[in-house]
């Protein structure tokens, strides 16, 4: 079972308290009616699906009931870091440091 650090509760809790919510940092279109079909496809369906570092959203459904973001390695399933939802995507340097810290 994954152990996940909730950045709001500041606690490491079991995966069964959380609900996965897919790829993170996908920005909602500012002017939906102006979008082309290709842009809708990209927003709704196209995903990075990387083998390695993945930015993703989690929902602490049985805790604080808030969404946050995480960086996780999709091969080892190790979390590199978690951070609150409105924080920008961590830089490559920050991710490298988190990897070295593990």
């Amino acid at each position: 079972m994954l152990l996940i650090h909730c950045p709001y509760c500041e606690q490491e809790r079991a995966e069964i308290e959380f609900s996965y919510a897919g790829e993170a940092h996908i920005e909602r279109p500012k002017d939906p009616s102006a979008l082309s079909d290709a842009e809708w496809e990209s927003f709704l369906f196209l995903r990075k699906n990387p083998r390695g570092t993945h930015f993703e959203r989690w929902y602490h459904i049985h805790g604080c009931a808030r969404y946050f973001n995480a960086v996780r390695d999709t091969v080892s399933d190790k979390f590199l870091m978690t951070y609150v939802a409105n924080k920008p995507r961590p830089s490559d340097l920050e991710i490298e440091e988190a990897k070295n810290g593990l």
């Binding site: 996965y20 079909d37 496809e41 196209l46 993945h54 999709t74």
Partner: protein, 417 residues
């Protein structure tokens, strides 16, 4: 290649002509092929076979980063059925089921296809309504599927607990008698042997690391861990690796990969006559010819390529099985493993041309790829050979995620397929 028959078996049994020979060669890659298939699972190996058999294309290589049949072909729970709701799905999976019925004879290799019946349990009024709708839709499409009462379900599968005191009591079931199981390794081996006999090169330990394109945009070859190999056409049939290989050609896909776990019990006497699926309690079970109970569940909630998963999902599945079949509560589980399933947003596959000329994709099969193996292989071969889809796979495009013409089995499938 030795033709398998009763007379060969007798001759080998009495030792008249020594050992069984190797069934297919392990060739070095050639400089160039007419078609390169990425991924030596059932789908890819089958496509190589049908390319040769039905389209006369024999200068074919099947590249595999690991070992033959070591991905999802060797990791699934081997359930075969075709009772899908939508016309497109019913047609696709029934095409595969038709091919399963003649497969062992066709490739002269016993894939141990056993049509013991697939029974899907209904536990709620909603389940019952949905299953009956499926049965009516299936009847209209000529797909065999029938409704059983709880007592009839119990008669068909005696270990089933139909007590009304169960947490999710059985109210009835949908039964597809034509459904069943097959020996997954034999499917990969049988297609490999049949494809190699018709000229295909099967190259293991050969990971594709790049796709090279000519100045006009067409594919011209693949970079691999064993060097560059030229190709006029490339068919990607790499399951969990599909989106990664497509990225190498600059194509982003709507595919996401999730772990799916399965497990087997210690072997026991024949006790379980069919396949039982339950969507509500989320488990499926059958008994292999070795006697092991083969048990699987749904995908994990998070994306991963780990080919493993957490124990709490296994516990959930096993508790569901024990509730449905109390007779198995004292069985010990023997082995447990994970696979990586490539899931699309509408839970239907992609078997199609791609925006890159000469590049084809067979992927996004999610949790339902094994049952479609002969069909997917047959249709992929057609699509590659003719550079246009067969009418059966024509709806299964990449473009449907742009046009909105989805085949939404995510909502319609009676179980996690």
């Amino acid at each position: 290649m030795v033709h398998f028959s009763i007379s060969t078996l007798v001759r080998k049994a009495i030792g008249a002509d020594g050992r069984w020979p190797q069934q297919w060669a392990k060739p070095e890659p050639k400089k160039e092929y007419d078609v390169i298939i990425v991924g030596a699972g059932g789908h890819g190996l089958g496509a190589a076979y049908y390319l040769a058999k039905e389209h006369g294309i024999t200068n074919v290589a099947v590249l595999e980063k690991g070992w033959l049949g070591g991905g999802n072909t060797g990791r699934n729970t081997t359930i075969i059925r075709s009772n899908y709701l939508y016309d497109e799905s019913a047609t696709l999976y029934d095409h595969a089921l038709g091919l399963w019925e003649g497969l062992s004879q066709d490739i002269n290799y016993n894939v141990m296809f056993s049509q013991r019946g697939v029974m899907m349990l209904a536990h709620t009024v909603h389940d019952e309504q949905v299953f009956k709708r499926h049965i009516h839709a299936n009847c209209l499409n000529g797909v065999q599927n029938e409704w059983l009462t709880a007592d009839e379900a119990k008669a068909f599968c005696p270990p089933l607990n139909i007590s009304q005191k169960a947490r999710y009591p059985v109210v009835g079931a949908a039964l597809q008698r034509r459904g069943g199981v097959a020996r997954h390794d034999a499917v990969a081996w049988g297609y490999a042997r049949a494809a190699a006999a018709r000229g295909a090169d099967i190259i293991e330990n050969c990971a594709v690391t790049g796709i090279r394109r000519a100045s006009d945009g067409r594919v011209c070859g693949v970079e691999t861990s064993r060097g560059y190999i030229g190709a006029k056409k490339i068919a990607v049939s790499a399951a969990a690796g599909s989106s990664l290989v497509m990225n190498m050609a600059g194509v982003q896909t709507p595919i996401e990969c999730f772990p799916l776990q399965a497990l087997v019990s210690e072997p026991i006497e024949p006790a379980f006559p069919c396949v039982v699926l339950s969507n509500t309690v989320h488990a499926y079970i059958s008994q292999s010819d070795k006697g092991e109970l083969v048990i699987g569940s749904g995908t994990e909630q998070y994306q991963s390529y780990s080919q493993g998963g957490p124990l709490h999902s296994v516990e959930h599945t096993v508790s569901a099985i024990c509730e449905m079949f109390p007779v198995f509560t004292r069985l010990r589980m023997l082995r447990h493993w994970g696979g990586t399933v490539d899931v699309t947003p509408d839970r239907s596959p992609i078997i199609a041309k791609t925006p890159v000329p000469g590049l084809y994709l067979n992927g996004g099969w999610g949790t339902g790829g094994f049952k479609a193996t002969p069909g997917a292989a047959h249709l992929l071969a057609w699509t590659v050979a003719k550079d246009e889809p067969h009418p059966i796979n024509a709806p299964y495009t990449l473009e449907r995620f742009r046009t909105g013409r989805l085949i939404d089995e995510a909502a319609a499938a009676a179980v996690a397929h």
